[in-house]
């Protein structure tokens, strides 16, 4: 933007009006969830490193797998894994919402608010269910 303002105010190079950007608008649920969808997508992109580590550790042998299990048992590992689980489920539900919108359905104000809220509530609920089942399978928190 600095370049635009510094340009001489003559001819075609004069500063043109810019369209309003994010900071103009009051945050709304649909808008925040749109941003969160992109953020969870980007997080999952790097989260595939966890998936690769897990599979390579399993393929490498007991020692490598023990290292992976140790990290996932630490507080940081658990937080990362919890975040990955939520991002995965949230991005999946957000994707379903977008697929519904792709069919040009659910665009009425109440409908789009419901779909967006359902994505958030659904992702948190499902993540907690997955983790409760996970802890039960592990025989309690370690």
């Amino acid at each position: 933007m600095a370049e635009v303002e510094a340009a001489p105010a003559t001819g075609a190079e004069r500063a043109r009006p810019l369209s309003p950007h994010l900071q103009i608008y009051k945050p709304m649920l649909t808008m925040v969830m749109s941003i969160v969808h992109r953020l969870t997508g980007a997080a999952l992109y790097f989260g595939t490193l966890l998936l690769a580590w897990w599979l390579l550790a399993a393929a490498s042998g007991p020692n490598a797998y023990a290292g992976f299990e140790w990290f996932m048992g630490t507080v940081i590992g658990q937080l990362v894994l919890f975040g990955y689980t939520w991002a995965l489920i949230h991005h999946m539900l957000g994707g379903i919402r977008h697929l519904i919108w792709d069919t040009v359905r659910g665009f009425e104000p109440a409908e789009r608010e419901f779909l967006t809220l359902a994505t958030l509530v659904g992702s948190i609920t499902l993540t907690l269910i997955v983790w409760v089942i996970g802890y039960l399978a592990m025989g309690g928190p370690r």
Partner: protein, 130 residues
């Protein structure tokens, strides 16, 4: 369409590929991979939950079974293509400098190929027990 805007040849208009010469291909592929990703993500979650708390030997045995291997292979192949398109879209939205744009697009391609190959290799190694 006004006559004055007919700078494109009739063939170009019929093909409808636009300035990027690739049309809406990536848009459509992102939808296809997102639909495929729904059952595959559920499959991944079920596999991981089934493995929790098990010994390495048990984990290897389960991961090596054909149905589990195939679900994981489908998940990772589908996921790397989906995230390749997605990250490219993010880069094109935010990186405007040509040099950084090309470098980050290239890094995106390298990353998804490396991560995809690593996961596929690990799954196949587990499956064939080499």
């Amino acid at each position: 369409m006004r006559e004055a805007s007919h700078l494109r040849t009739p063939m170009r208009r019929v093909r409808g590929l636009g300035a990027a010469h690739s049309g809406t291909g990536h848009f459509w592929h992102q939808r296809v991979t997102s639909v495929a990703g729904i059952p595959l993500t559920i499959g991944l979650l079920l596999v991981v939950m089934a493995l929790l708390g098990r010994s390495h030997a048990a984990v290897v045995q389960i991961l090596a079974s054909p149905i589990v291997s195939i679900v994981l292979l489908l998940f990772i192949i589908n996921a790397v293509y989906h995230m390749w398109i997605g990250m490219q879209e993010i880069i094109l939205d935010y990186v405007h400098d040509d040099k950084w744009k090309l470098l980050s697009l290239m890094a995106n391609t390298f990353f998804v190929f490396a991560i995809g190959l690593a996961c596929v290799y690990a799954i196949l190694k587990l499956s064939f027990g080499v």
